[in-house]
Symmetry: C2
């Protein structure tokens, strides 16, 4: 099934979390969920919520419920705010490139020990909300990623059990301020100001809805990013993912339990080129990139200096994934800077 | 007024957030809050909640409401889970000592640019809940700190405005796994596994309740830490705080807004000695320390090697602050390792 949190400004107290809706497979119609007003409420009691949501989903799909027209512009992120957003860097190729771009060496252990940072989760952007422009010197960039939402995960859970705790899958734009990263990381406490609010896809999808694209550990399919209408990248999310989601969840749960509604991100999806290198432009037949920083790195390698500027006011970023029939699975993240 | 979140396991869906109660000044009686079942619900709509909570608090204080007996053992942390926990290192003395202890240099900019990390906020420990023992090699330590809870804070808010957004003050035990920190920080993404679940004081207190101890920017008063019944430290929270809370909030809000219920921590409270050095033991007339790591550092300086072991199973940590009449302001964090 597919779930969305629609804006409900009238309900002041509930407005921050939106109103949970079940959405049909084609992303055309939606209906509210009486017993679970918010997605967090459903995740807090998933054993009860899942059958109720499934029944609703089947009735909506069978047109036994008419529902309302579904418009992604009315969506908040599926969890408009969350108790945890922990983002991995599972596509180590991306980490290696970004490090190179800022002249930093990558330790060999990065291929065996997952990188993960604790992100801010109190104020996510809506999927079609503007990205605050900020100071141009901050070097605003997008990062197209996959994320999963977990149920409660016990302290010390291993990957095999973690696999059974994944409840939802969605897309992310992990907005990054490249200009603030070097100084912030040099302080040793990780990202803070350099990672402003992220945005998620209009709908979150249960793993069973994904069919063969979901193998219990990772999602397969091209993650399409567009900048100002042109395709910027279409790497396959199932390729070059060094650490799968159960491994990332187990990493996060090593020393503490994870609460229901924890969001675990894959990090920027990134494929190597056929030669094992960083790949090439989409217009040259390559898979392109899921963030501007990677593209700039390749420009530096091939032409001596980065050319593509970071995001500026008015730029538009679109992130989407299509099923085998060409239909959007999660709805598109579609944001303008400004 | 003083607020607590009592365990309410019977209400399954609400059980994760506890039941908001107003507590009397003496921490002897409490009464539930009908219109705002959880502290987060009150913070989400503080303009409405504040007068309601104040009226209830006054009636409880005047014995117009009898209430129930207040027992800190029935408390969850005031926010049992939060949308944000961002911890500063405002007592730079602590940072300098801990860095020295692991042989790392501290950049001079740490005295002018606040350090802050994004902490996990999905699963806080209750104030009297056991600290999971973990692997002894992880080097479990406590850190006694002050924290504030904010209302919504706009992106780019400066310290003057941030001062008006502080709603509650409380104590924290920011549990730290010293053995995991060096390797984790070396990876460059900040703390994750090395910062397991924190615990907060049984009650959170509004700034107006603190009288002269709160100057709008920081809390004055000895923060008492006890290890196995012996005083370990009593540094004054109002002394040597290089960055006050409004400055920490403004730092956090530089590139994104902060949601209501954001918790901002001071970092380990730490006073310099009279000679400007790291201070001395409580038993030697000094202010002692708010974490074991500092004490070990001083042992290394004075005796050539650290002596005090990190926490082991069965150890008991107690963190408390008393008012001028000797009564506990926030109730005590009182945890056993095990």
């Amino acid at each position: 099934m597919k779930l969305a949190s629609l804006k409900n400004g009238r309900l002041e107290k509930r407005g921050r979390d939106g109103a949970l809706h079940v959405v049909d497979r084609a992303l055309t119609r939606a209906c509210p969920v009486a017993d679970f007003p918010t997605l967090q409420a459903a995740l807090d009691d998933w054993a009860s919520a899942e059958p109720a949501l499934k029944a609703l989903s089947q009735r909506l799909e069978a047109h036994e419920i008419r529902g309302i027209a579904f418009d992604p512009r009315n969506c908040l992120s599926p969890l408009p705010r969350a108790y945890q957003w922990a983002d991995g860097s599972a596509y180590v190729n991306h980490v290696e490139l970004v490090r190179k771009a800022r002249g930093a060496e990558m330790p060999a252990s990065f291929w065996t020990d997952p990188l993960m940072y604790q992100g801010g989760s109190d104020s996510f952007l809506a999927p079609t909300e503007n990205i605050p422009a900020g100071d141009p010197k901050w070097g605003c960039d997008f990062e197209a990623e996959i994320a999963v939402v977990t149920d409660d995960v016990k302290l010390g859970t291993g990957p095999e059990d973690a696999m059974t705790r994944i409840r939802l899958v969605m897309l992310v734009n992990d907005v990054s301020l490249r200009g603030l990263i070097p100084d912030e990381l040099a302080k040793g406490f990780g990202f803070f100001q350099s990672k402003p609010s992220s945005a998620f896809s209009p709908v979150a999808v249960t793993p069973d809805e994904l069919g063969a694209a979901w193998d219990g550990r990772k999602l397969t399919g091209a993650l399409n990013s567009y900048l100002n209408g042109e395709m910027f990248g279409c790497p396959d999310a199932g390729t070059d993912m060094t650490f799968d989601f159960p491994t990332l969840i187990a990493h996060a749960a090593k020393s503490r339990p994870l609460g229901a509604g924890t969001i675990i991100g894959s990090g920027t999806v990134s494929n190597r080129g056929p030669d094992g290198g960083p790949g090439s432009w989409v217009s040259e037949g390559g898979r392109g990139y899921s963030c501007i920083a990677e593209r700039r790195m390749v420009e530096q390698i091939t032409g001596g200096k980065p050319v593509t500027p970071f995001l500026k006011s008015g730029d538009r970023v679109r992130i989407d994934m299509l099923d085998t029939a060409g239909a959007s699975i999660f709805g598109a993240i579609d944001q303008v800077v400004g």
